[in-house]
């Protein structure tokens, strides 16, 4: 379980990025952090593995106060895939890149080997195993970064803007991977402003603005609050915009699959 208690974080330049965050996340939840750029999403994620420590308040990961723990030990439990995947690469080949963290965590050699093979296969990167990670395309780099994290199997996986630069097929695959990892008991926390992607994933949403949590609820609750989304400089999913403007047919703003909405429109037109 993850607990944030009155967390404030002030960057060295004086910018207060988190301003009184109170939050509880149970094991096995899928959470989306949403909000405009600069709302505090990434700063919050960096508190999960102790990269940042609260200026005041505290963060507990399964009861452990991050201020009393190291990034190295927290990382065993929390894996973060950053927005710019490239930042985490430095090994000459992709298979070495995958093995690096596993070796650091002192996994036995045969386990490292097995997990590297599994990760290469799972992320469809087998053919590139001996290539430099920097030669991959943007979408492939993202997959490699996620594979590295999945290989050491932390309980909590955080993804910072995982869909940036990904095409629709890769996004569908991303949703599958997230759901699959979640079914294996992983807690997943995603920061994103890709409303359509989040609508498809349908998680609990924590909406942030200027370092505060302004709403915490189901995808349906948060994504149909058009006024609030507007205040947070987000644009509602197309389906919500559409249903909100079909009030003359008796629609209320709602989140649904396009097929369901079509059937409903047809029924009400008759």
């Amino acid at each position: 379980m993850i607990v944030f208690e009155n967390v404030e974080y002030v960057y060295p330049n004086g910018f207060k990025a988190l301003n009184g965050i109170n939050l509880e996340i149970e094991s096995g939840e899928i959470i989306a952090l949403m909000g405009e750029n600069g709302a505090g999403k990434t700063t919050l994620l960096k508190h999960l593995n102790g990269l940042l420590k609260p200026t005041s308040g505290r963060v507990l990961i399964d009861g452990v106060d991050t201020r009393n723990s190291t990034v190295a030990s927290l990382s065993r439990k929390v894996g973060i895939v950053f927005q710019n995947a490239e930042d985490m690469f430095f090994s000459p080949t992709i298979s070495e890149e995958l093995a690096f963290a596993l070796n650091n965590f002192n996994f036995p050699e045969e386990v490292v080997k097995k997990r590297v093979e599994w990760a290469l296969k799972f992320m469809e990167l087998e053919e590139y195993r001996d290539k430099s990670p920097f030669l991959l395309s943007g979408g492939e780099k993202k997959r490699l970064a996620l594979a590295i994290i999945l290989a050491w199997s932390p309980d909590i996986i955080a993804l910072d803007e995982p869909t940036v630069g990904q095409d629709i097929l890769q996004k569908e695959k991303m949703i599958q991977i997230i759901k699959q990892a979640n079914q294996q008991g992983k807690t997943i926390i995603i920061s994103s402003h890709d409303v359509e992607f989040i609508a498809d994933l349908n998680p609990r949403i924590i909406l942030m603005s200027r370092g505060r949590i302004v709403k915490d609820g189901s995808a349906e609750e948060v994504l149909t609050d058009i006024q609030l989304l507007h205040e947070c400089r987000l644009i509602p999913p197309q389906i919500v915009s559409l249903t909100s403007r079909l009030d003359f047919l008796g629609f209320k703003p709602k989140l649904a699959r396009p097929e369901e909405v079509a059937v409903e429109i047809a029924r009400r037109l008759r």
Partner: protein, 283 residues
Amino acid sequence: MTILETSNLWFKYSGGSEWALREVNLEVSEGEFIILAGRSGCGKSTLLRCFNGLIPHFYDGEMIGYVKVCGLDTREHPPYVLSQYAGMVFQNPDNQLFALTVEADVAFALENLSIPRDEIRERVDWALKIMGIEELRDKSPLELSGGQKQKVAIASILALRPKILLLDEPTSSLDPYSAKQLIDTIVELNQKYRITILIAEHRLDMLLPYASRLIIIDNGRIVLDGNPREILEKNDVVSYGVSTPRVVKVATQLKKVLGDSSNLGTPLSVEELVEIVRRRRYQ
């Protein structure tokens, strides 16, 4: 008037085993607004790089066929000449900005071209004005938001007065609101200043209503090229990694349910679909 053309264009990056572009034949008229779509790695970026001369002058590789930008063969003219005709805006504005102030960044390319001082001043003013960022003039690019940075990057290209603006996923790192504002500005450049737009994008929902043409690339080849409405009406573009806006999906399904394909048309935006439904409701 044809402003850009490729003839039987093939390109392979040096060290690459596959052709990144295959037999691309394209003619673009002045004032068009073209979306290039297709899965990651399909060749969209490679094609854009052929239009400002980065290919073949900066990226090594094997090129077959030719590209002409405003009549200039890209093999015979360097990027600094070609970019005065076709200017490129990249995905990450941080890679494009480096000066101490916004003004200096926008003026940089012009200074390098030895343009007279008064004209530089005039062009910088103009570029900042049409991008709506005059108030950012004295700021450091470092203190701007992602959306503002991207506008500065476009202004620095516009100062070169190109006829063609090439944009490679310019909104991908922006939040939706900033993305919408940027797209509105790009639309204005096209409609008010008749700048030809070629934009590579994954997210079509905001752009489609404005595009005159949609080109879908798969495995280096142009597989679909035409009016966006017609393409989306007749093809399932998801298999090419192109996301169909949700309203298009609703409309497609609605046609199936109502059983009359003739009257609904193919709406590309929420507004269009609402209008169609309203008409049907009160007809």
